[in-house]
């Protein structure tokens, strides 16, 4: 089709032009490996001296630039809310009935025995790993966002091994939505507490403690944990929302 050819031609011209511009601008950046700037040393000194935190990324995320993390967290929350909105039951669709094992026309594979054997061993270990990564977020690599993804993916194994009804029994969607919302609100509440105590919004007001201990570095661990709760329960809500759809939904609308 000549329309497609024309489109592809225009696309390639556009990509070449973009590529040349990108190449010119990217190659004018600083030498790779040779940052010209001094704020890394400032941040490092500030982290150790002022806040006694070991993980600089967590420090930047939850102390120096905690407002940005608030924004990112709320992008996440909004995406989950939007997803629930898009997948809600529209007028004219059937009410979610009994979860059917199979929808006619689709064949489900037999449940895998090996997966069912290793899941009860792995899922608790993965959740513990996720919680470890979460609460040590200000000391070792990790933190709220990573741990949230770990915990969310770990609990998804229950669906993979045992099917939808087991997942549904384990994860109650109303509860995960509630915890996600409460954790997100808790982040703001922590910021307002800082504001009320005379410092700036989301300032670090808790006692600092000793570097390397679990309850050190002020509010960082608290904001970290709240973010981790929000992200992990957000992932679970997202999964529950998607998986709820696989039941019996396609029968009532336009078909």
């Amino acid at each position: 089709m000549s329309a497609t050819r024309l489109r592809t031609g225009v696309l390639l011209i556009g990509l070449v032009a973009l590529g040349l511009t990108l190449g010119w601008s990217l190659l004018n950046l600083h030498e790779y490996g040779d940052i010209r700037g001094s704020y890394e040393t400032q941040i490092e000194a500030a982290a150790l001296r002022e806040r006694r935190v070991a993980n600089l990324d967590a420090f930047v995320n939850f102390d120096y630039r905690a407002l940005d993390t608030l924004g990112e967290e709320f992008i996440f929350l909004t995406a989950i809310v939007g997803l629930s909105l898009v997948l809600r039951r529209l007028p004219g669709e059937v009410e979610e009935g009994q979860p059917l094992p199979m929808i006619p026309g689709r064949s489900a594979p037999a449940p895998d025995e090996l997966t069912q054997w290793i899941t009860p061993a792995f899922v608790p270990a993965l959740v513990v790993l996720g919680v470890y990564v979460l609460i040590h977020g200000h000391l070792t690599p990790g933190g709220g966002f990573q741990a949230g993804a770990i915990i969310g993916s770990a609990l998804a194994m229950i669906y993979v091994a045992f099917g939808y009804s087991a997942f549904r029994h384990t994860i109650n969607q109303e509860k995960t939505e509630a915890v996600e919302a409460v954790a997100a609100a808790g982040y703001i509440a922590m910021g307002l507490v800082a504001l009320a105590s005379g410092a700036a919004f989301l300032a670090n007001i808790l006692p600092l403690g000793k570097t390397g201990e679990l309850y050190s570095a002020g509010t960082i661990w608290l904001l970290n944990d709240l973010t981790g709760a929000e992200v992990s329960f957000g992932f679970l809500t997202m999964l529950a929302e998607f998986l709820r759809e696989t039941q019996d939904r396609g029968r009532g609308d336009d078909g």
Binding site: L11, L15, L18, G19, L22, G23, L26, L27, L29, H30, E31, Y32, G33, D34, I35, Y39, E40, T41, I43, E44, A45, L48, R49, V53, A54, N55, L56, D57, A58, F59, V60, N61, R65, D68, T69, E72, I75, F76, A79, I80, G82, L83, V86, L87, T140, P141, G143, F145, Q146, G148, A149, T211, V231, G234, M238, E241, F242, G250, D253, D254
Partner: protein, 115 residues
């Protein structure tokens, strides 16, 4: 090979854009969008790299004794990755809705129907 990192970021960006524009399946398009996003992470992290720098975790280090790579861009990238996953999920939810109504995942077919 000093230009390789930036060139890789630019290449991945362009490749992802090409994939998105010539895609014939909406889910394929969403994954190409994810590839484009990964190009920005590569660019961010490459611009924050310091030759001989360590990972930005302070373990028994006195301030000023060692140099670190830039932690700010890493902080940006790590939140970005997780948020990108949520946005991808939102796009997939929209795709499911589109499929319910139109029963096709071809972007060309979807635009052709309207005309």
């Amino acid at each position: 090979m000093d230009e390789l990192p930036y060139l890789t970021a630019g290449w991945v960006f362009l490749v992802g854009l090409y994939g998105m524009a010539t895609s014939r399946n909406l889910v394929h398009q969403v994954m190409c969008l994810s590839v484009v996003q990964s190009a920005t992470y590569v660019l961010l992290l490459s611009s924050g790299y310091r030759q001989g720098g360590l990972a930005p975790i302070l373990i028994d280090a006195k301030p000023g004794s060692t140099t670190f790579v830039d932690p700010v861009v890493q902080a940006l990238a790590l939140t970005d990755i997780v948020v990108g996953a949520a946005v991808t999920a939102l796009l997939l939810a929209i795709i499911v809705r589109v499929w319910r109504v139109k029963h096709t995942l071809d972007p060309d077919a979807l635009t052709r129907e309207e005309s």
